[in-house]
Symmetry: C2
């Protein structure tokens, strides 16, 4: 039997909070009865709701917070004026060591800003990143950064690869995840200098990573790569584009199904298959975005999540909390550091050094 793990919940974050938070917790408790929750938010509202969810009530300690970060608040404002919000308090529980991880469906920018201030960035990591789970043909793909940073230099991309790999090991259970750098296909336009140098570093200095080189946008959902690394601008555009295309495909499918009586009948017969597919492509299902690179586990659920989406975010938090994820990252960073030092100190670089000036690709 697993030990009891305490998770901190921002009960007021997200479009359908706090209902969706409590209902999500209820689903998670069915599968993992040992979780305990610190539930931050409006005490009277929460206690009233909890009356109808006895299992959640039994597993939760309600901690009152007067205020709520709204979805429209600017991160800087939320930080300046938000010490009495459920989000700030929920993160504080992790900082204090009272909870192993925090889950919020609230404002992403505010969560990242408050997370950075309270938990600080991991030693050796230059910038935290937002990682997401992307549905693929044979499971899920970790994609990062999804928008924590607008740009990323070589060091940051390498950090992202290391953090994404650790996350894939813990969350997808893959021992040696295939890691790729997102790039464009044209031979002589192979991306920015940052991407080329990051590829070079990953190839030569992070020796036992299963780095497969450059991947294109079309590879993300195909299931041949487990971790896709990119800057936050590109990652966010790719994510939104994929969501839009899936929605577009679903809309066109439903129009096509209504065109003739034969296709209408076909559509009716296949309705449950369509529902299953929609479920699979639904961002709510795999929306456990994670803020990687902080000294503490911060899970971001989709703002418009339903209870199932929030339950999966709780499960991601649990996986991370019970893992040695931070240790994996520390070990990788330490070995990268020593590889860099030895390559800098050595007059006669061995192996890796020979190719360090070759163009990539």
């Amino acid at each position: 039997m697993k030990n009891q793990t305490t998770l901190s919940l921002d009960a007021m974050g997200g479009d359908a909070a706090p209902t969706v938070v409590i209902e999500g917790a209820e689903i998670a408790l069915v599968r993992h009865p040992n979780i305990k929750f610190l539930m931050h938010g409006d005490e009277s509202q929460l206690k009233q709701l909890l009356e109808h969810h006895p299992s959640v009530a039994a597993a939760s300690t309600v901690i009152h917070a007067e205020a709520t970060v709204s979805m429209e608040d600017k991160p800087s404002e939320a930080v300046r004026r938000g010490r009495n919000t459920s989000m700030w308090r929920a993160i504080d529980s992790v900082r204090q060591g009272d909870a192993r991880a925090i889950v919020s469906a609230g404002n992403t920018g505010a969560l990242m800003a408050m997370g950075k201030i309270q938990l600080k960035t991991m030693p050796g990591i230059s910038r935290p990143a937002i990682a997401g789970l992307w549905p693929s043909l044979n499971g899920e793909t970790v994609v990062l950064d999804l928008g924590a940073n607008v740009e990323a230099d070589e060091k940051q991309l390498v950090d992202f690869a290391i953090m994404g790999e650790a996350f894939a090991r813990v969350e997808l259970g893959i021992r040696k995840p295939a890691v790729g750098l997102l790039n464009i296909g044209e031979e002589e336009l192979k991306g920015h200098d940052e991407i080329r140098s990051a590829a070079q570093t990953l190839r030569t200095s992070v020796t036992d990573m299963n780095f497969i080189g450059f991947v294109e946008g079309s590879d993300i959902g195909m299931g041949d790569v487990d971790v896709v690394v990119t800057d936050g601008f590109t990652g966010n555009i790719a994510l939104k584009t994929a969501e839009g295309t899936a929605r577009q495909f679903a809309a066109m499918l439903s129009v096509a199904m209504r065109r003739t009586w034969l296709s209408k009948l076909g559509g009716l017969l296949a309705a449950s298959a369509f529902r299953a597919l929609k479920h699979k492509m639904d961002p709510n299902q795999s929306n456990g975005g994670v803020l990687l690179g902080l000294n503490g586990i911060v899970i971001k659920s989709h703002g418009g999540t339903d209870k199932n989406g929030f339950a999966s975010a709780i499960e991601v938090a649990l996986d991370m909390a019970e893992s040695d994820y931070a240790e994996i990252i520390h070990r990788r960073l330490a070995s990268l550091e020593s590889a860099r030092k030895s390559s800098a100190n050595s007059d006669e670089p061995e192996g890796a050094g020979d190719t360090s000036k070759d163009a990539v690709g």
Copy 2:
């Protein structure tokens, strides 16, 4: 009755050339019997094939070219050694004024490099861009740049907006296309400085453009924006991601359809609807990529195009050739230039000037 328009074809470019080129030309001729072709490629091979396609033979002049640019050639090499290729010669026909436009399904990088050298960039335009037609919920959306440049500064993004707008007017027949700049959603992370300043310029100095501001990746296929402007790196990633997602959705749909006998039956009944949908989401169908910003019309068809795809590329070439597209761009650039001058000379900027220092969004 329309005048006769002569188009130059790189008959050897693309995975299935020259067959697909000749068969594509045949389809285009059914709809537009007045087109004449200058067909560049291996004379004996082409003449042999043309025996089976009398309508194309009658409309074509075959011009022999000894060599072919391969899909793997690097653009710089293709340019250095490729003056005897069908691609170079086909572009040369436009430069010489013998044809109004050139269509190639060959190597994109080489086509762009040769196009730049032979046709030169339009006066006032800093960099050419590749524009594509993206299937949307109510038609098609113009997206550019799709990979001609890895980065884009403010001036280039503004140029892209102007070129994309002109292309949408000609190709989609929209008098005042809605133009958007691709960006990410987070409030305080609203993209790079370049994007913010480009938005500012488009808002204040390109006065009668229907500029709708920032759009996100999920907006591209929804049909509310007609022209989506971005740098070539982001555009290429977005395009490939959308293609991958559509393929992924189709693959998952076909698995879902085979799961139960009921859904199997449904799938059979709805088979024609599925085919129509696949056809609609097929990049081959709307693959008339255009190299905008050159002194001549260069249309890029997908390398793996089928005959229908090549026929649509020919039709895009025809639309462009019979339009005043270059004129539209020249007028816009001239008015932008005078707006810039008047704003620089004026001590007391009127209207637009007042907001020029406001943050965007």
